[in-house]
Symmetry: D2
Subunit: 329 residues, 4 copies
């Protein structure tokens, strides 16, 4: 069975467009119609842009048309402030390309996720560190007038804690304060162990239903919110099923030389692989996640990197992150 | 200068109706027209009900017409589960008298306050422990159908962290989910050191602007929300100005025998007392609070007492708090 | 390659004696000399006692001679106070069998682990909830004299945060306060997804080097501490390598019918399996853990269950956990 | 009654030498024999050094002979990273003057206080952010050999949580690891509202019994520990009694013109003032503290400032705090 279908059956969402693209290309051994990919390197980071340009690409990728920018920065894990600053600057730069903000545009930052489940707490932590100005805006001292944009921020919580669809809460707030754009922060699942806490995805398509560590139930995007939604995500977990599957795949490669096994493998009931993996993961199923032991600290650092990047991208007057931090908690 | 005016000038809100009433009565040496007060004792607790019954009483008390029930329970501080359970039961009982819920009515619990400022974090902590059911409601197993009411809960944060009026966020959510009633939890300021973390106020008038540890800016009540709002408050701080003033008052009593001083005192420029106290509290002013050293643990316990009381009051099927806790986090 | 050796090479410790025993028995298809096992059922819980009775058994099991009691309680995850109380009572009962405390014996509770890494924070959290009495002991009111035992508690942190061997810190304290016995609490790794946060192991052999989520470096036992050490552990993680291996094993079982594959498998270079799994887990290796998404709350509840059980086992006068909780934070 | 005696009777400790000196000088209207004071200004900060040079000064000040350096930095409260860095550098510089470390000397950082009581949690939070190297020391890469000093850190907790004298725990660890010097971090009480979270005291006399927010019971100094102890403190609370007393004093000044009152005041039973204040503060007494509402965030920032300053002072190779932070959590 193709990996893409297997993942689907196992409820493993490929949150990162670059990963969905890799899986597809590997299966098809060809480019995917309606999908373009560009790579370049900045400092220590690799930037990969995936563009989904047609309904055909949308269908194949299982993601809406739009731009998905991935910043892979293995050094994000190093606890060095200069490196974190470099990454904040890079995020600000890529974010600005998708934001196209006018001088008077206002922004609502939404921190998705559950602050009581560490690997899902990225969004609320970014909100903690976000420099909000909407309430100060009209009273800001002269010298800041030019620079300070109106920014507000909420952490709506998760359905299990509020009893309310997260999208309902956000929409209710949006209708009250009418932001020009929403920036939604969410923790993602990845299929690559290397990417955990070392990668950032910025997408101008908002949040897709079923995505994120919390498997958000309802989409948070232009259709549901009425304003553009930029999503910023960081992979913090790998679905346990991915590890199980990787192990099996690697074993089978060992046997490639053997035609007899190859036949056996091909003869294997397509559902067996899925059955095996589900058996291994019982009773937690999709709620069983793989994460680094020190995830608590990785989330804390990553949330500061993002908040500083936001401050730079949203407030033109804030040139260096040092200024930016002036307002961060 | 009368205490009531001094407090007003110093920005010291008397959040507890029973205290506002005491101050007035002491000043006027008489009953206050349009205000009634009843006392009774249940177990180890004193229950005082203040009823504001006319615009005249409203004017005098600086609080809207309605019912204010105070449960004074000095033993609330004792870390004993049986005592906490007794208090949860008492809260449930008094709350039910003001709620008048029909079988199909739904409730939105709102935890006001700042989870990053311990003495103001009572509301958000109650929300953490609240048993939400709105999302489960339609799917609840047979045996619960009769008992489980639709309950949702949010902790909207504070203006300084979100950039959005708390009332705006709540109203936005209310318009989406249309609860029958709102129960708002807030940390209060008291003028009585004894009451800190040992007292509960339940009011059917909602949240008054300027009240609470966070000096909520906009009222959260039937006028602003469109549905009835029951407020549950626990005093967690004493305004530092109250202590300063108490000390001065006590000193002056020492001198009561002296006519010469009494003249001096009466001759004292009414603003001097206010000036003295403001000087003492500089530079923090009204943000300088008095609180017990172990406030962190007192808040944790009190939030569990309230959450358990809510579970009993809102879910008829939950007879004992033991069942109630089944759903609490 | 035998599973026991594979785990060893992968640095996967079998913290639970009952699991080490199962693996061995499966490999040898026979009883293990010097190891006895007894099972019985109490309420909803299964209690399994593994006794290692000879150096031969020690050698085979890779664990010191002594008693290992496992309480498997799948319902531990249910958030119901009555169930938690039943489990606290069961823990108290099994613990007492291994403690043999005299009326004047004193106890030091040690919470091992890193409070900044949720799945490793069980020990410090139990210490938070532990009722300490050593400092009150001589001043306790009459009516408690008979019941209150001298109990102290420390959370020494981990090498990475202190720069000091945990065992050194504990030994230093032990030499100052001379407890009769140490009870060490630690988070464990399991090979069984079902056991996470639903199982308790009590051992009178103390902490073995390399065990626990934190892979404790130095043993904490009678040899190193000079006093008996009882270890209480709860599995909170599964090593990712276990999942990878389980998946492979299950796949191979699919092929059991095929002699040709069986030959291939047998012919497989013993190190390949290990290599496969290490490749899958790079770059995190043994620091990559599998844990339920809601581990934060599971740890909070489990730590309260243990603290309440300790209060009952250590303080004869505390019959019901309700009294016990009177002293818990 | 003299303020110094009143404070003593009320159990109000003057933790800051500079404040004890001011009170004395005000009372005596003269210099204090055996006590010297020097002031200078660096950047935005005022540095005051108090030297107690004789037993006579010791007696008068109620503090042991030695050096007490106070850095008053009102801008510490501004949330700006550059300002925090300047303060870290200043702390490092003043600390080095008292430390006199040789190249191979090792340091134990001790974070005093209760991590469950926010205003007392400064010490443990500094430990969280401290760069420990003792365990890495022998394995450090070549290029760091010259720079990395052996540093360890513990947060021993408080008597109420451990049942063990804090000094006993520290002494036990000291005897195991034999540091050259101890640096103890503690939250202090001040009599000046302005100083809260804006002042640092460095003393080469260690911790005096009864000092700190937690009223440490046993001294932590060269006598009890056997090695020199440098204390770093930040005032985080004002004893409520101080506010009460300040208010009274200010009122009395209003009346200075009146001889009749002055007589009355002088005739006032010396104990009355104390009685008044104790009455005002009942039932919490000395556990009633005054603190800014946002103390949680002030403590977080201050702990990072101190940890960065320590990294610079202890590790010669760490020139800028940016490098320093590389190792901080």
């Amino acid at each position: 069975m193709e990996r893409s279908h297997l993942y689907k059956n196992l409820g493993i969402q490929l949150d990162m467009a670059v990963e969905a693209h890799d899986v597809l290309q590997q299966e098809r051994q060809s480019n995917i119609a309606g999908v373009e990919m560009y790579k370049n390197k900045v400092g220590h980071s690799d930037i990969t842009t995936v563009k989904i340009t047609s309904p055909e690409g949308e269908e194949a990728m299982g993601k809406p048309m739009g731009n998905y920018v991935t910043i892979d920065a293995p050094h994000m894990k190093v606890n060095n402030r200069d490196i974190h600053q470099e990454l904040s600057g890079l995020l600000a730069q890529e974010l600005s390309k998708l934001l196209h903000l006018g001088p008077d545009d206002s922004v609502l930052v939404v921190g998705l996720g559950n602050w009581h489940a560490t690997p899902d707490a990225l969004g609320p932590k970014v909100v903690n560190h976000t420099m909000v100005t909407r309430h100060l805006h009209k009273f800001a001292p002269e010298e800041l007038q030019g620079g300070l944009r109106s920014v507000s921020a909420i952490a709506p919580g998760v359905l299990g804690l509020t009893g309310i669809e997260t999208a309902e809460i956000i929409k209710g707030v949006v209708e009250k304060i009418n932001p020009t754009v929403i920036i939604a922060i969410d923790a993602l699942a990845t299929r690559s162990v290397e990417r955990m806490a070392t990668s950032l995805q910025i997408a101008d398509t908002g949040i897709t239903p079923g995505s994120g560590v919390g498997n958000r139930r309802v989409g948070i995007n232009k259709e549901t919110m009425g304003v553009p939604v930029i999503a910023i995500g960081v992979p913090t977990v790998v679905h346990a099923g991915v590890i199980a599957h990787e192990a099996i795949e690697m074993l089978l490669q060992q046997f490639h030389t053997s035609p007899s096994l190859y036949r056996l493998y091909k003869g294997l009931n397509p559902d067996s692989m899925q059955q095996i993996i589900e058996d291994v993961l019982e009773p937690f199923g999709r709620d069983l996640i793989m994460t680094p032991k020190e995830i608590d600290i990785l989330i804390e650092n990553t949330s500061r990197i993002i908040a500083t990047g936001l401050a730079q991208a949203l407030h033109p007057s804030i040139s260096s992150s040092s200024e930016g931090l002036q307002y961060l908690q």
